[in-house]
């Protein structure tokens, strides 16, 4: 591994980590919106 490769690998790892957390947050948000919709319909019945 060359000295330039190491920071690049670290950068990629950080980007990958951020992308994964963002994907999980978006997935959780979709599920939460669905659950809120169901809950609101239940409360209004």
């Amino acid at each position: 591994m060359t000295p330039d490769q190491e920071p690049e690998d670290q950068l990629r790892a950080r980007q990958k980590g951020r992308a994964l957390v963002m994907a999980l947050a978006l997935g959780a948000f979709v599920i939460l919106l669905f659950a809120i919709s169901i809950a609101k319909m239940t409360v209004n019945q």
Binding site: P7, Q15, R18, L32, A35, I36, I38, A39, K40
Partner: protein
């Protein structure tokens, strides 16, 4: 001349103080920050007390709320607190760089640039308010928005660097969560959530001043006019004892007013009595070196336990009644 410059070891955006008279910031483009640094921006440890008091406000409300909507309300309180903390760190990056306690935070340590922190804070704040409005009601969303703006604009921007009363008035920001929790469940605010607000408001000065007594040199180095820096340890200790009295009255008040039962009343009275004893020990202490400030450290630790226990007792009282 205090000059804040890019102090990051690998050329990433950051700030470090050189001396004490003026401030300028120079930033370089930073590579993307780690997700853990975004999490650190939200001050997760402070958030636990915010979430707990918000949850207790929600659980003591006289109407039940759907569990999903209740969960969302607490999530919004947590996200709103996180947004306020991120904006606080964005604005105070120069101060944080000067204090031992805060210099390893993402901005002063150069792990994130200020613009990213600003965008994250604003985005998270707007998201939390909109989600609260959609999931519960727009009154609760309005109170949540007011609490974020109060913390950022009134406490962080206006008061903190100007007056030793910064945490007295700014303490109101931390007192909002039980009111928001209550408002999320009921859509309004009555006497009990206002008393809970008053309790946290009056609890904040003794809590923070106990801490600031033994980290005084940190605040002095950063030029923050905390009471021990401006008026000295003796006056601060007197103020701690003085604020404890109305705080104890606000804590016990829901019992004689018929808003809570004997379980809460006896817990509040007992815990407030211990708080008062510890504040008297602080008043009697004459030490000026942090190493000899055991009563102050004891009071600070107990003050956190106090708030958890008193709000826990209120929920228990409601459930057993």
């Amino acid at each position: 001349m205090l000059e804040l410059f890019n102090a990051a070891p690998h050329g990433r955006g950051g700030v470090v103080a050189k001396d004490m008279t003026s401030v300028s910031l120079t930033e370089t483009a930073a590579p993307p920050a780690d997700w853990r640094d975004f999490l650190a921006l939200t001050k997760p440890r402070v958030m636990t007390l915010v979430v707990f008091t918000g949850l207790c406000g929600l659980l003591t409300a006289p109407v039940s709320i759907h569990p999903v909507l209740g969960f969302t309300a607490i999530l919004c309180i947590a996200l709103g607190a996180g947004a306020a903390a991120a904006l606080n760190m964005w604005y105070e990056a120069d101060l944080d760089a000067l204090m031992k306690r805060t210099r390893s935070r993402p901005l002063p340590a150069g792990r994130m640039d200020r613009e990213t922190a600003l965008h994250f804070g604003v985005g998270l704040g707007v998201f939390s308010v909109l989600l609260m409005g959609v999931a519960t009601n727009w009154f609760a969303a309005g109170v949540l928005a007011a609490s974020i703006l109060f913390y950022v604009l009134v406490y962080t921007v206006w008061l903190k660097r100007r007056t030793p009363q910064n945490i007295v008035i700014g303490g109101a920001a931390g007192a909002f969560p039980p009111v928001i929790g209550w408002a999320a469940a009921t859509g309004d605010v009555t006497l009990l959530p206002l008393l809970l607000f008053t309790l946290i408001f009056l609890w904040t000065p003794p809590h923070f001043w106990a801490l600031s007594l033994y980290v005084r040199s940190d605040y002095a180095a950063a030029g923050v006019p905390m009471l021990p820096v401006v008026s000295g340890a003796k006056v601060t200790r007197q103020q701690i004892a003085l604020y404890t009295l109305p705080m104890a009255a606000a804590a016990v008040a829901p019992w004689p007013l018929g808003l809570a039962g004997a379980i809460y009343g006896s817990a509040a009275a007992g815990l407030s009595f211990v708080f008062l004893l510890l504040s008297l020990q602080v008043l009697a202490n004459r030490a000026t070196e942090p190493a000899r400030m055991k009563p102050e450290k004891r009071l600070f630790a107990f003050s956190i336990l106090y708030l958890f226990a008193i709000f826990g007792a209120l929920v228990l009282d409601r459930w057993l009644a």
